[in-house]
């Protein structure tokens, strides 16, 4: 057996450690805005402007700190204040600053950061924000992959001198190969058997081979597409000036996006999910519109309608697509007095574009906005809108501007072009939005419940068990602090059900102590020696405590591994709570009782009285 001294040391050590890790939670996190000056240093004008506007909007700031020469951090008491401030800063339309919404730790001491002591992250139900679950439709990508493979097979077989009659991909992920002779079929089969990756031969007979894309390849495509989508979504979220967001995959083809407190949700959603790109096409001036409207459209052209519904015939060949654009920004065309998008092309594509536009000086060119959406029948549909039609005045090169959209549209499109286009169409499967005011209400009611429950249990124990109750309460306090510390260390996201889980843990954890104390009372009836009685009480209650807690722990763990959403937050707190309460009731309470027993006779007298009155 460990001596009391060592136990006390261990308990004190764990207690101090848990207080350190719990500490950051007391202050929690602040909603904040970080302002970055792009080139110059922060000047006093900006600070005065911010302070004046804060006063006008009746906003109390928590602090305004110049972190370095170029960075300014404003902390707020509520997310609503943060949003209002963000709004007026954005309206200032100051191009020289970057503004980003943040959530920062209130206490940033180097020591705490060094030992990784951070406050728990708050779930969306407590801080407000958006949770979106999206599904990536990979069907198209697989089809494209199969199609690409079928055309590359043609070259591969040619290289091997194998003559084929026809190779075609049908939309069921299968490629059919037809041959003229059995020899060719056999050679092709041999070739496919040894060099074909990602496909399986499913039919080989009668001058015909069928190959089908296999699961491994499909999963690889899925994985790649999901990764790419996550990458682009993250870029878009960053472009929107939101930090602290979570974008991660769930399952094979789903992605979770969690954004704390964002005010313009519909815009964000619009931007996140868009698979939009631009395409530059020449206008077909050889064919008259009238002929085209009568259905006589030349093969290489396609009929479009402009915004005002006038028809226009475009040559169905992209002279430039969105992928060629390496940078885009919204701006203002002063000559035309219109909003515009400044486009910058990548080196690779400049030459061709320059040539094409040079050849076509004087001819009109259309800029088409293409967007794939999922329609009601769950099919992918490509929507094409013409943004503008303009005559090419000179050869276009690396930098040029396009007009035809309003300011907001220009900004959004520039953002989309900057972040790159999504590799697949996505659809929203689940969406949860919690307003910041509701989040604050939730955290208030959650914390109130925990506090009241805690105080109620403290009283309950003292009323029931007097001195022993006080000892149990010390155990309960260590339990609560340890629970918070562990949750902070392993980075649990605190949710409202999680808070309920903490409250419930407080109520249930005391059970171990009740088991022990009732057992002690029982033993006291038999024993004359009280120290021995208490010892026996602890000992005999032990197996009950372990059995009953382990069964609950099993439930907690099952809930954790299988559940999602609210279940998970609850399961985590419940499970950790069980472990900490076993520690606090068996180890902490026992040691404190031992200390009292060896040093203080009063406890025994109290115990005696308690025994007699009952």
């Amino acid at each position: 057996m460990m001596s009391i001294k060592y136990k006390t040391i261990i308990i004190t050590f764990i207690f101090i450690l848990s207080i350190i890790y719990t500490y950051p939670n007391i202050h929690g996190e602040d909603p904040a805005i970080i302002i970055n000056k792009k080139t110059q240093n922060i000047d006093n004008n900006l600070i005065t402007y911010i302070n004046d506007n804060l006063n006008i909007n009746n906003i109390k700031k928590k602090s305004l700190i110049k972190k370095d020469k170029k960075t300014l951090i404003i902390r707020f008491f509520s997310t609503e204040d943060q949003f209002t401030t963000h709004e007026f800063l954005k309206n200032k339309n100051d191009q020289s600053i970057n503004i980003s919404l943040n959530i920062l730790n209130s206490t940033s001491s180097e020591f705490l950061e060094k030992i990784n002591a951070y406050p728990m992250k708050l779930g969306l139900d407590l801080r407000g924000g958006v949770h979106i679950l999206i599904k990536v439709s990979i069907k198209n990508n697989i089809n494209n992959f199969v199609k690409a493979k079928s055309s590359s097979l043609k070259n591969e077989l040619k290289e091997k001198n194998i003559t084929y009659q026809n190779i075609k991909a049908n939309n069921k992920k299968i490629i059919k190969l037809y041959f003229n002779t059995d020899d060719d079929t056999k050679n092709a089969h041999n070739y496919l058997k040894s060099f074909l990756i990602g496909f399986d031969v499913i039919y080989y007979k009668n001058k015909k081979i069928k190959i089908q894309i296999n699961k491994k390849q499909k999963n690889e495509i899925k994985k790649n597409i999901v990764e790419q989508t996550i990458y682009i979504l993250s870029r878009r979220v960053n472009e929107l000036g939101i930090s602290d967001s979570i974008i991660q995959s769930q399952g094979k083809n789903k992605i979770i996006i969690e954004i704390p407190g964002i005010q313009d949700i519909s815009r964000a959603k619009n931007i996140l999910g868009k698979t939009a790109t631009l395409s530059f096409m020449l206008v077909d001036t050889d064919t008259s519109i009238r002929r085209a409207l009568r259905g006589k459209i030349p093969k290489q052209s396609k009929l479009f309608y402009q915004k005002d519904n006038t028809p226009i015939l475009l040559k169905n060949k992209n002279i430039l697509t969105g992928d060629a654009i390496i940078h885009a920004s919204a701006g203002f065309e002063h000559q035309l007095n219109k909003p515009c998008i400044n486009i910058k092309l990548g080196e690779k594509n400049i030459a061709i574009f320059e040539q094409t536009t040079m050849k076509n000086i004087g001819n009109p060119m259309a800029i088409v906005y293409k967007e794939s959406v999922i329609n009601n029948q769950k099919e992918i549909e490509i929507k094409e809108t013409i943004i503008s039609v303009a005559t090419i005045m000179s050869a276009l090169s690396k930098d040029f501007q396009i007009t035809g959209l309003n300011m907001q549209e220009s900004k959004d499109l520039a953002l989309l072009l900057r972040s790159g286009s999504l590799p697949a169409t996505i659809s929203i499967m689940e969406e949860k939005i919690v307003g910041p005011s509701l989040g604050e209400k939730n955290i208030k009611s959650g914390l109130t419940s925990v506090c009241i429950a805690f105080i109620a249990i403290l009283f309950f124990m003292v009323l029931n068990y007097k001195m022993l109750g006080l000892i149990a309460n010390i155990g309960l306090i260590t339990n609560l602090i340890l629970l918070t510390a562990i949750m902070s260390i392993i980075g649990v996201t605190l949710t409202l059900p999680g808070l309920a889980g903490i409250a419930l843990t407080i109520g249930m954890s005391i059970d171990a102590n009740i088991l022990i104390f009732e057992r002690i009372k029982e033993e006291m009836k038999k024993e004359i020696n009280h120290i021995y009685g208490i010892e026996k009480g602890f000992k005999n209650a032990f197996s009950s405590i372990i059995d009953s807690n382990l069964t609950t722990l099993i439930i907690g763990l099952v809930l954790f591994t299988l559940g999602n959403g609210p279940i998970r937050g609850f399961a985590v707190t419940l499970s950790i709570g069980i472990i900490t309460s076993i520690y606090s009731s068996i180890f902490v309470t026992k040691t404190i009782t031992d200390i009292f027993l060896t040093k203080n006779i009063k406890l025994i007298k109290n115990e005696n009285k308690l025994h007699k009155t009952k």
Partner: protein, 282 residues
């Protein structure tokens, strides 16, 4: 003070059978009011600084299919629920935003697409089955299989009655309610285990001296104060949750509270009945 629980067996069995039959009756009559996570659909919470006229809102929005509107927590909050809908969420939101007065604000939107709910149902059923199975395994390992079986029978009894109460009170059965049910499973098993633990201990202590009925009776009596005090302490917390944790956790807290009462009742009065019955067939 000693109570002869064995003598009360017949009465408690009668009560439990009636409760179970009533539960099954309500379950078949009312069904379970499944929450959004299981049906898919849209849930929107609106808030105003002033009292909201429910009928006014209802009249304005009655052209939306499957729409249900009610006060939520207070008269300043309402909840709009549209289950089983194929409508586009954004269209619905725009429609609602256009119809409601300016002082009412949307503070929460939950949209769950039709594809998610099948997965949720599957996961939930898996969770229940695996939880019960792993508990049975653990209990069989720690106790005799007869005790394990009795504990599981008691648990099933609790589940039926809780489901009955959910359908009687027309509480919504969503993931939060489900986690409350799980907590009750844990609690109920916990209570039963404490009693069985004592039975196991006394079976060794009084081997040959006392028969099973007597052992069970002493065990229940000796753990009685613990059972009641723990129930009271936990009930204290869950009652606090009912009143302070807000509308969102209301159903959760109600189920926890009622579940604890049922769990306590069943471990004291019911859990040993199947044990006695099973022991007859040695």
């Amino acid at each position: 003070m000693k109570i002869n629980f064995i003598k009360l067996n017949k009465i408690s069995m009668l009560i439990s059978i009636i409760l179970c039959i009533l539960s099954i009756f309500y379950l078949s009559k009312n069904n379970i009011n499944l929450g959004l996570e299981f049906t898919g659909g849209i849930e929107i919470e609106l808030e105003s600084k002033n009292k909201i006229e429910l009928n006014e809102i209802k009249n304005k929005l009655n052209n939306i299919n499957n729409i249900k509107i009610k006060y939520y927590g207070s008269k300043k909050n309402i909840q709009i629920k549209i289950k089983n809908t194929n409508e586009n969420i954004d269209n619905i939101i725009i429609l609602i935003e256009n119809q409601i007065p300016n002082d009412i604000k949307i503070i929460r939107i939950d949209y769950i697409g039709a594809e998610v709910n099948n997965e949720t149902i599957k996961n939930s059923i898996n969770a229940i089955v695996i939880a019960i199975m792993s508990m049975t395994l653990y209990l069989t390992y720690r106790f005799k299989y007869k005790m394990a079986l009795s504990a599981i029978i008691t648990l099933s009894h609790d589940i039926i009655i809780i489901l009955g109460i959910i359908s009687l009170l027309k509480l919504e059965f969503d993931l939060t309610t489900l986690s409350a049910m799980f907590a009750v499973f844990g609690y109920s098993i916990n209570d039963t285990v404490v009693i069985f633990d004592r039975i196991r201990e006394y079976s060794i202590l009084y081997k040959g001296e006392k028969n099973l009925k007597e052992i069970i009776n002493i065990s229940i009596n000796n753990t009685l104060s613990r059972t009641t005090i723990t129930s009271l302490s936990t009930l204290l917390v869950t009652t606090i949750l009912i009143f302070f944790s807000g509308e969102y956790l209301f159903g959760f807290s109600i189920i926890l509270s009622l579940g604890i009462i049922i769990g306590t009742y069943s471990s004291i009065y019911i859990s040993t009945i199947p044990l006695l019955f099973l022991e007859k067939f040695k």
